[in-house]
Amino acid sequence: MTHVKFDRRGLIIGASSMLAAGVSGLVLPAGAQGQVAQGFAPTQSMPGGSNNYQKGAKILERIGKGGFWMSGTVRRAGDGAPLAGQRIQIWAHTVEGQEHEPQSHGATLTDKEGKFRLEMPQIIPLFGQPHGHLAYDSGEFKTVFLRPVMRSAKDKSLEAHFILQPA
């Protein structure tokens, strides 16, 4: 067997490399959060965005007893024109239910300025991160799943923005 240099130096190098490899993902995260419009490129689905998605969530005035605001915008790719009347589905782990439970899912429509806002119960960290899920899945444009992460579990609101391209 080739001689493996197994000493304290090797130990420190090995441990630091492992740590650096893992932490680099924090400093340069893959996956978009809020979009800074650069010619309105279409939003890509975020990893894990479609987890616990349930098609056909009902359009609601409010999910459950409310207390938390999910909001955002829906625009067209290319010219960034606001898209009105688009159905955005929203779900999360909240104080009133887990992600897979039907009562945790709801939908809303964008107004004529392409904005949407839905009140829902306070989001709770699930699987180590306080986050929400949003989906555009109505067929006219390509389906997009977003999974924005809250900066703090104490936040009472979260934003996510869609830029959609034709299906």
Binding site: F6, L11, L19, P29, G31, G48, Q98, F127, G128
Partner: protein, 201 residues
């Protein structure tokens, strides 16, 4: 001497019990199903056992000198493996797609790769511990492999725990992780040093 021994045990018990007790008061628990809560606590137990393991194998826990410490290390290793299986299994039941993402390294969460790698390292140690004689592994090679995997387990486990935002209270979690690191550095470092010294002789 006996007073000192009791003190060491008390400190160890507190180091593990206090973070767990505080976690039990987390308001998140009210909003989680029982399987998820058990999975979370299994993870915390695994973290606590990562502190116990190096102390056992070094024979520095009062009343558990070697070779007793080595035997205990084996049994606690099995418990640690079991705790990790419950942690992963319970999380899988809670949300299969999220766990699948973690296991396939496609999860958006930064702590997942650390946890998954530490998990595989624990599996590897368990398998090698069970079959090393059958594999014809020399004691020296076993020591190199196990110490290397132990480093992976400690770094992975601590990074995983610190990056997760969940039931554990942050300061006591950090304190436990610091102790895990300190114990690992002390014991693994000493063993690496003695391995190197032996190979020079």
């Amino acid at each position: 001497m006996r007073a000192k021994g009791t003190l060491v045990w008390a400190a160890l018990a507190a180091a593990i019990a206090v973070p767990l007790a505080l976690a039990a008061t987390s308001e998140l628990i009210a909003y989680r199903g029982p399987v998820y809560v058990i999975a979370a606590f299994a993870g915390m137990v695994a973290l606590g056992l990562t502190l116990v393991q190096p102390l056992l194998i070094a024979g520095i826990l009062p009343g558990v000198a070697l070779p007793r410490g080595r035997r205990a290390h084996l049994w606690i290793g099995a418990v640690l493996l079991f705790a990790v299986l419950i942690h992963v299994g319970g999380l899988w039941i809670t949300s299969p797609p999220d766990m699948l993402d973690a296991l396939t390294f496609t999860s958006p969460t930064p702590f997942s790769p650390f946890g998954v790698v530490a998990m595989w390292a624990i599996f590897a140690v368990a398998l090698l511990a069970a079959f090393r004689r059958r594999l014809g592994m020399t004691p020296r090679r076993w020591r190199v492999v196990h110490l290397s995997l132990a480093v992976v387990i400690v770094i992975g486990g601590v990074a995983h725990a610190m990056l997760v935002e969940g039931t554990m209270e942050t300061l006591t979690k950090a304190a436990l992780c610091a102790l895990v690191l300190a114990a690992a550095i002390k014991v693994i470092g000493a063993r690496v040093w003695s391995t190197r010294a032996k190979s020079r002789a």
